[in-house]
């Protein structure tokens, strides 16, 4: 019985991501922010000590958050709680698993701990979400055991251009594989450095084998609607909420924008009087491209 219950762990982890679809996952740094996010309609929260915009500003090495701080957030809300570990830092991941986190984000937002290897995520019972800029990165992370993917975008900028670029890139490559002859899939697997089975799945289904959210630079209801219309199955909002003038109102508006992402009239109403959006940084102005981390 226990065996039967455990063998489907990866499926159950992919299915948790399915339950998050059509939702907004918000970065929070305190239990108070977590409660605001939950009340605003977040489908999950990402617990971290500093939101990406502040990580950028502070510089230095950025690491996994204090487990006590994460626990405080776990106690404050009933929705799933996610937390970030550094790329390749499997000991941080083990710690997050020990405190029963619902999802680990092996994230380029933190300083990478390993410039060659990602975490072997198949060794964990808790699920992982990973960032990707293109299909190859996405499938390599899935091969390593990720049960959810998000575009990397460019965290902490409030500039949506890179999330758009990554989503379009992924869509383009999926369409290309979909239209391939079957005998071309072997070469494609070599090109992408992934197994043939994953390429075949994309060929047959025209999508990733796991849920794909947009992340990195989403700051307004319109940004969220844009990403949804480009095919994202949900949205992560990091700095965009708690760096803005009226976090509660903006968070609730983004949640509704994700549900009714095609209704421009409703989106217009939702975009009204939200106060100041996060100031943001243009991609040309940033010294550090987090999306370059972990390929």
């Amino acid at each position: 019985m226990e065996n039967q219950r455990e063998k489907s762990r990866y499926e159950l982890n992919k299915e948790l991501a399915q339950m998050l679809k059509g939702g907004v996952i918000m970065d929070v740094t305190t239990p108070e922010q977590a409660r605001i996010a939950q009340e605003a309609g977040a489908c999950a929260v990402m617990a971290l000590e500093r939101i990406p915009a502040d990580i950028r500003a502070a510089g230095g090495v950025s690491r996994m958050s204090d487990p006590a701080m994460i626990r405080g957030i776990q106690e404050a809300v009933s929705i799933p709680v996610m937390a970030k570990c550094r790329i390749g830092h499997f000991a941080e991941a083990q710690i997050l698993e020990a405190i029963e986190i619902d999802y680990i984000d092996e994230s380029e937002v933190l300083s990478p701990a390993d410039d060659v290897y990602h975490i072997d995520k198949t060794q964990f019972k808790v699920p992982f979400v990973c960032g990707a800029r293109d299909l190859g990165e996405a499938l390599r992370r899935i091969e390593e055991g990720a049960s959810m993917i998000r575009t990397k975008g460019e965290p902490g900028t409030g500039d949506v251009i890179q999330a758009v670029r990554h989503m379009r890139q992924m869509n383009r490559e999926i369409a290309r594989i979909r239209s391939m002859r079957e005998d071309e899939l072997f070469e494609c697997a070599k090109e992408l450095q992934v197994s043939y089975d994953l390429v075949k799945y994309v060929h047959e289904n025209g999508r990733l084998p796991v849920v794909n959210f947009a992340a990195g630079g989403v700051a307004t209801p319109a940004d969220a609607a844009l990403m949804m219309q480009l095919g994202a199955e949900g949205v992560f909002v990091g700095s965009g909420i708690f760096k803005s003038g009226d976090p509660q109102k903006r968070a609730a508006a983004i949640v509704k924008a994700v549900t009714n992402y095609k209704d421009a009239k409703l989106l217009a109403e939702l975009s009204e009087n939200l106060g100041e959006a996060m100031v943001g940084i243009n991609e040309q102005e940033i010294a550090l491209l987090m999306a370059e981390r972990g390929k």
Partner: protein, 192 residues
Amino acid sequence: MRIGVLAVQGAYAEHEKMLRALGAECFEIRQQTDLSGQMDGLVLPGGESTVMGKLLRELGLFEPLREEIESGLPVLATCAGLILLAEKISGEEDRHFATLPVTVKRNAYGRQLGSFYTEAVMKHIGKVPMHFIRAPYVETAGSGAEVLAQVDGRIVAVRFRNQLGLAFHPEVSGDTRIHSYFLQSILSKSEA
């Protein structure tokens, strides 16, 4: 047959896929205007019940749907959907439609590490695959609520008049028997 699937958040697409495979027509409910057409049945999918409860109210869907359910519209509710239907949520004051006479416990098996898969017998159907994902269970079922399945001595499926509430997720199981049972119950109701 036209089935409305609540699509404000969660795994609604999976339900639609199953219902379409069984020959039913589906439409997504995201705002009030979606409720203008014929609706023979309603699906409340898995997802986050706090999100759905909030959006139902803010998008003006709550009262119209509650009235439909009260007046006998057949409903299939899974996981978060079951929480939306429950008369009481254990340890919380919040409640949503409150049309199903049960008390449910949210996140009853703990966090994601407590999620599990099993197979168990469901009354009227037989042994079915059950995916429990941060699932609730039914603590107590009131009079008139028929218990359809139990796992480890806990109630995980109930039926009360027009409402079918499940703590698990048939929509991700690849097994269409529960959806088929739901559609059959709509057919037999319209014949009666």
